[in-house]
Structures are given as structure tokens and as C-alpha cells.
Amino acid sequence: MYYRQAGRFRTSYAQDMRLLPVLEDRILLISALVIGFLIIPLFANNYWLSAILIPWLALSLVALGQNILMGYAGQLSLGSAGFMAAGAFACYNIVLRVEWMPFFGAVLLSGVIAAAVGIVFGLPSLRVRGLYLAVATLASQFFIVWVIDKFGWFKNYDTSGIMNAQQIVVFGQPMDTPAKEYMVVLVIVTFLTWLAWNMAKGSVGRKWQAVRDMDVAAETMGISLLRTKLQAFAVSSFYCGVGGALFAFAYLKSVEPVAFDILLSFRILFMVLIGGLGTIIGAYLGSGFILLLPVFLNIFFHAIFPTVDATITSALEQVIFGVMIIMFMIYEPLGMAKIWQNIQDRMRRWPFKV
């Protein structure tokens, strides 16, 4: 009712292939973009911008990368933070050493470097799958962080361990307020999301999904496993790398190997799982959920027990986190994206029950 497909006919292939075939979905997306690009930078305060929205966007991009690899191509990976580190340090070194390079160029180039690293570590995926592949990607996680930590060149021979990321400069303008940084991140994230969406919907994404569902069957249909799997690793690492660079430059304001540890990889894994495997919107919902849950729990606990110890809240947070993951696996294994889809279905049939 609020939301309908009946009576709306698609009369051309272009209409049939568009990303959002339903009119209401397009209105929703456009209003989200208007809010994101116009209203938030004008009205949001600095805390919300720099502590929640910027990391949300950056981590959503990483989650999107993880989702491409895991949700679309079906390759279990536990090394996304390693690729984030590759992207962040690539960006640091490009900005440091190539002075004429604009920031957008540096970010995209660091994504390309992360993609190259991803292809190398994706090679075992040609022989192994599932849990075995997870071990191979764990190797990448530890190895990349170790390399960056051990070889001084990556850190510009800085021994203090605390390295500030350079100021983001776009068209000669320093991006020195949270609102400006937010805009830079938003532009990159929006563009790359649009790209990923098209990839996922097009032949590339279909090949990924074919390989995910049954790789031997996909191969007999003429899909090159070598190409498809490595492509998934490359695209995924590209997104992780760009997300990592944005995460370091716009949110952390520092580049340090310890920030990209295995725990971050797990958080990103949870974002994808809770958000919904094999969906674009799931990456955004999941990362928002994982980022905001601790914030809300903290506020909640402090409202009830004002004097409670920080270690207790963090332990309790962990328990609640675990319970939520188990509950999602039991009641909604397809994640928050599925809940959103259920809401859409419900609205389509309103006032009748589904």
C-alpha cells in the first residue's frame, strides 16, 4: 500500500535493470542522500560527526569489502583489518612521498595497493575453502601488520609508535573541521557504494554468487575460478584498503599498526553477519549496529548504575554482544537486511498481514 509494485510496468530494459525498481525505494534513497549531503553537515554537532558518523561510513566501506568477499563470493576471510592496514599505510606513504598527488588520488591508489596485496593473499583460495581459507587469511592479518611494524620504511622510520596522519587536503583546502572531513568521506563512500552495487547486480556479482553457491558447477558453466576468486579478493581488499585509509585519516587521525589488530577483523566480520551476508545495505546496517550498540549500552548502564566500574560495563557489553550474535544466528541468520526486507514486504501488503 505504502509501497507498491502492482500496476507499475517496466517498459524498457533500462527500467528493468535499474538498481531500485520500486519508486518508493528511490524516493527513500534520494531523501537519505539529501539528509547525508545537506542536512547532516549543517546541523550535526562535532561529536556526532567525528565519533559516530565518520567511523560509521569508513567501517561500512570495509564491511562492504568483507561482504563482497564473504557474502557474494563465499570466501571466508578473517584478515580484513590487515588489508585496512595495507590501505592506511599506503595512503600515509603516498601523501608523505608524492607531494603532487591529490588526496582522492592517494586514497584510490592506496586501495589499488591493498587490492594487489589482497590478490597475493587470495591465492590460497584457489586450493582451499571454508575454515581452511580462514587460516590462510589469518596469516595475512598477522603477516601484513608484522611487515608494517618491522620495516621502518613504512612508518617513515618513526620509532615512537604514535604517528599522526597528515591533514586531509582537497583542492588546496585543508579539511580541518569534522564537517569537512565528513564530506570527503561521504563522497568517496557514496561513489564506491554505487560502484559496488552495480558490480553486485551485474555479471561480475553473478559470477561471484555462482562460485559461492557451488564452485565446481560454476566452473563447468565456463566461469574461470581463478579469475573470479582473485577478482573478489582484489575488489574486497580495495574496499578494505580505502576504508582503512579513511578510518585512519578521518577518524583515528593516526596511523599505527596496533589499531588494525585481529579484534578489528572480528568486529568487521560481525558487522557483515549481523547486517546480512550478500547485501549492500547490510554492510551499513551492521556497522551502524556494532558501532552504536556499545554507545547505547554505556549510556544505559550509566543511567541505571551511575557509579559502575568501566571494566564491568565492558564485560557486560561483551556478554550482550555475544548473546545478540547467537540470537541473530538462531532467529534471523540473514541479518538486519532481511528484517528491512520483511518491513518492505509488510508495507507492500498493508493493511493485510503477510
Binding site: 571466508l76 608484522w146 618491522k150 557451488m214 548473546v323 547467537i326
Partner: protein, 302 residues
């Protein structure tokens, strides 16, 4: 190579093998659950942490060692039963990936619960077994081995022998293997799935307690124990996911290679390669022998 160098090599090798025994102990819990439900139990590391922290916690409450031990074993059985009831039973016949993710959630619950109950500080655990090199052995051969090392080795041996007999000789073990093959098929011929799972998870909890006590006696009872679980992954890959003896052999390989690599290859890279060398070893193994040393070869049909 003169005698000194050979002696040094042997010393590093023995140190690595002894560390490997400890890895095997942790990996044993994984294999147990993997065999019975083809789930990679990510929570095994958390179970190690939870078990030993509870044990130390009970001792701090004033319980005697021999009272705290059965109480903790009872607690771990309870954890196993609760896991079966609230996590596994609703997920029967779900994909392996879903089950894996659920165990990650379980790991979070156990870690959080342990810290909530007992606090976060690092504890010492004194088993009464000294962790200093035995002097007579050092004098005789020049190799440093402590009583704790020997205890760990003996305990690991006994556990492996016991579990191997359990799996291959008893009726319960046969049921376990049937359940591992297919949940539905096992149920259809009357094997009580929930009893099997409860038993396996409880046993894995007890194995976790044993591993945790030995690790705790060596390096203190602390949160870092859960990361041993990640070291157990390459051990399982090399040993094969379903083989109890394979875990011991693989644990020894991983332990020895890790220490030898650190001492002989590490200096060329500035050290610290212990963190990733087991994984690289596992990847190399995967390329040549994807089913591991003693694992069952899987044939996939389209």
C-alpha cells in the same frame, strides 16, 4: 656445526616441542567438538579462559584445590549442557558457517561472563608443580625441561589415549562419529543427538580446564589465553580436523617449527616472526596436503 651448536639446536627443539604439547592440549578440545558436530568451536579458547579463571576464582574464595577442581568440572559440564540447550539445539541442521558464527558469539559470552564474575586482573596459579628446569636433567644432558613440562606431556598423552579409546572402542564414541557424519541420519537411527552433544561439549569443557590449568601455571591466568585458540587453528589444519593423534603430532610440529623459525630465520627479519610462522606453515601444508596429516579426505560431489 660443533657440539655446542647441536646442543643449542636440541635445546630450542625441545623447548618448541614442549610448547607444542600445550598447543595440542588446546587443539584437542577443538577436535573433540569438530568430530562430533563438524563445528569449528571458536569458543574453545574462551572456554579455556573461563574454566581456569573460575578454578582460580574458587580457590581464592577459600576452597581447597581438591574441592575447587570438581566444582569447576561441574561448572564446565553445566556450560556444556547450557550450550547444547540454548545454542546448538535451535541450530540443528543449519549450515556449518552459521554454527561457526554462533560459537564466536558464545566465545564473547564466556569471556564477558568470566570477567564479570571474577574480574580482569592477571592471576597466578600454583599447581604445586615447579616450572624451573630440572637440575639433574640439565647436568646430565644440558637440556632444560621443567617438571611442569613433563606433567603437561604426561597429561596430554593420557588425554589423547583416553579420547582415542572413547572414540574408537565405545558405543558412545560410535554415536559421536555417526552424528558428525550427518545430524539427520544419526537421529533417524535413534542416536540421541542432544545427549551426544551435551556429552561432547562437557568433555571439551573439561579438556579446556586441563589445558587452562597448565597454561595458567606457566604464564598466569589472563585474558591472553583466548588467543591460544587462534594458534590451535594451524595445529588442526596440519593434523587434520578429525584426528585425535594428528593433533598431538601437529602440535609438536607447530611448536617446534615456531621456535626453530624464530631462532634460526627470525634474526634475518628482525625477529617476532613467531606471530605468523605457524599460519604460513599451515598454508604450505594446505597446498600440498589439504586434508592434513591424518584427516579424512573429503570428496565433493556436484
Amino acid at each position: 656445526m660443533d657440539t655446542y651448536e647441536i646442543l643449542f639446536f636440541v635445546e630450542v627443539l625441545v623447548g618448541g616441542l614442549l610448547a607444542g604439547v600445550m598447543y595440542s592440549l588446546v587443539a584437542l578440545g577443538f577436535v573433540l567438538i569438530y568430530k562430533a558436530s563438524s563445528v569449528f568451536n571458536f569458543a574453545q579458547g574462551a572456554m579455556v579462559f573461563f574454566a581456569v579463571l573460575s578454578f582460580v576464582g574458587f580457590m581464592e574464595l577459600g576452597l581447597h584445590f581438591w574441592i575447587a577442581l570438581p566444582v569447576t568440572i561441574g561448572l564446565m559440564i553445566l556450560v556444556g549442557v547450557a550450550t547444547e540447550r540454548f545454542v546448538l539445539r535451535p541450530l540443528v541442521n543449519q549450515s556449518d558457517d552459521t554454527l561457526l558464527m554462533a560459537t564466536i558469539g558464545l566465545a564473547f559470552v564466556l569471556e564477558g561472563a568470566a570477567q564479570l564474575a571474577w574480574g580482569v586482573e592477571v592471576r597466578r596459579l600454583d599447581l604445586g608443580i615447579p616450572d624451573v628446569p630440572l637440575t639433574w636433567l640439565a647436568d646430565l644432558t644440558g637440556i632444560f625441561v621443567s617438571a611442569l613440562d613433563i606433567t603437561a606431556g604426561v597429561v596430554a598423552g593420557v588425554l589423547v589415549a583416553g579420547l582415542a579409546i572413547l572414540f574408537s572402542k565405545t558405543k558412545a564414541g560410535l554415536g559421536l562419529r555417526a552424528v558428525a557424519d550427518s545430524h539427520a541420519a544419526a537421529q533417524s537411527i535413534g542416536i540421541p543427538l542432544k545427549n551426544v552433544w551435551m556429552m561432547v561439549w562437557a568433555t571439551a569443557g573439561i579438556v579446556a580446564l586441563v589445558a587452562g590449568m597448565l597454561w595458567g601455571a606457566r604464564s598466569g591466568v589472563q585474558f591472553a589465553l583466548i588467543w591460544i585458540a587462534l594458534k590451535a587453528l594451524p595445529v588442526m589444519i596440519i593434523g587434520g580436523f578429525t584426528s585425535v593423534p594428528g593433533v598431538i603430532v601437529a602440535g609438536l610440529i607447530v611448536g617446534a617449527s615456531e621456535k626453530l623459525a624464530e631462532v634460526y630465520i627470525g634474526p634475518y627479519f628482525g625477529g617476532g616472526i613467531e606471530g605468523w610462522s605457524p599460519y604460513v606453515l599451515a598454508v604450505i601444508f594446505l597446498i600440498f596436503r589439504p586434508e592434513g596429516l591424518f584427516g579424512e579426505r573429503h570428496i565433493r560431489r556436484v
